[in-house]
């Protein structure tokens, strides 16, 4: 069995879509946020695999940036969720619907 770049991509795609399903389906904001991390990680896997496939390091640099950005996003996002929870006493997506129509 020859593991090619397609296999890596397939895994990353699966992870991407699992994460997407989490974002779309789960009601808990924290889990939604974790699912978003899954999606970013899926991209990371793809980038590293393709970086190797393409024989250059630019993809890995990109992954480095993504990890950093993800960290920053997590920090801000979680702070926001905390602030929300403090006011709303909830972190449920479906209860955030005062702005609509």
């Amino acid at each position: 069995m020859d593991i090619g770049v397609e296999a890596y991509l397939l895994v990353s795609m699966l992870l991407f879509c699992i994460g997407m399903a989490g974002v779309l389906v789960r009601r808990n904001l924290l889990i939604v946020y974790m699912s978003l991390e899954l999606m970013l990680n899926a991209a990371n896997i793809a980038l590293v695999a393709l970086s190797r496939f393409n024989d250059n390091l630019n993809g890995q640099v990109m992954v480095f940036f993504i990890i950093t950005v993800a960290a920053a996003e997590v920090a801000v996002g979680l702070a926001l969720i905390v602030a929300l929870y403090r006011r709303h006493k909830t972190a449920q997506v479906n209860e955030l619907n005062s702005l609509k129509l």
Partner: protein, 165 residues
């Protein structure tokens, strides 16, 4: 060996991914996230990206998930109230992500990436060239990231400090 490890990591990633998404409460999800991140790191190792593997594990497993757990504990929320999902969201969400997956796989199947990967690559132990690249060609985005991190810091303070002016 490489193949075996790949299959192992991949299976684990998918399984843990599903578990994260399907986790009963945030704590469970966060806990499943840890091995997932490690497995992703494992894949990085398999691909020869040792530096990134280290960062992956350090940042995600070490920092991000810890913060998640922190927050979960802080907020003291464990079980989702009511139904975890509603049926419409489930259908729409799973449907759309399934459709996306379908598209991606279709695209993948149509592409001819060849079988280049897996073999010996010139990129072995690439930490030093990666560092060079980061501080030469990519120094500008790197610096911008520093601003971004600063923004994140400021933002977190702004959003969570107790005292309001």
């Amino acid at each position: 060996m490489h193949d075996l490890l790949f299959i192992l990591f991949s299976l684990l990633i998918v399984v843990f991914g599903v578990l994260v998404v399907a986790g009963k409460n945030p704590v469970n999800s966060a806990m499943f996230l840890v091995p997932l991140m490690i497995c992703v790191g494992g894949l990085f190792v398999l691909l020869g990206a040792y530096f990134l593997a280290a960062i992956q594990i350090l940042v995600y497993a070490g920092a991000v998930i810890v913060v998640f757990l922190f927050i979960i504990m802080l907020l003291d929320m464990d079980v989702e109230k009511g139904r975890r999902i509603n049926s419409f969201a489930a259908v729409a969400g799973i449907g759309s992500s399934g459709a996306t997956l379908g598209l991606l796989v279709l695209a993948l199947s149509r592409s001819d990436l060849g079988a280049a990967g897996g073999g010996e690559s010139a990129l072995q132990g690439e930490t030093i060239p990666l560092g060079k690249l980061l501080f030469t060609d990519y120094v500008l985005p790197f610096e911008i990231l520093s601003v971004l991190l600063l923004v994140a810091m400021v933002g977190v303070i702004l959003l969570s400090k107790k005292k309001l002016q």
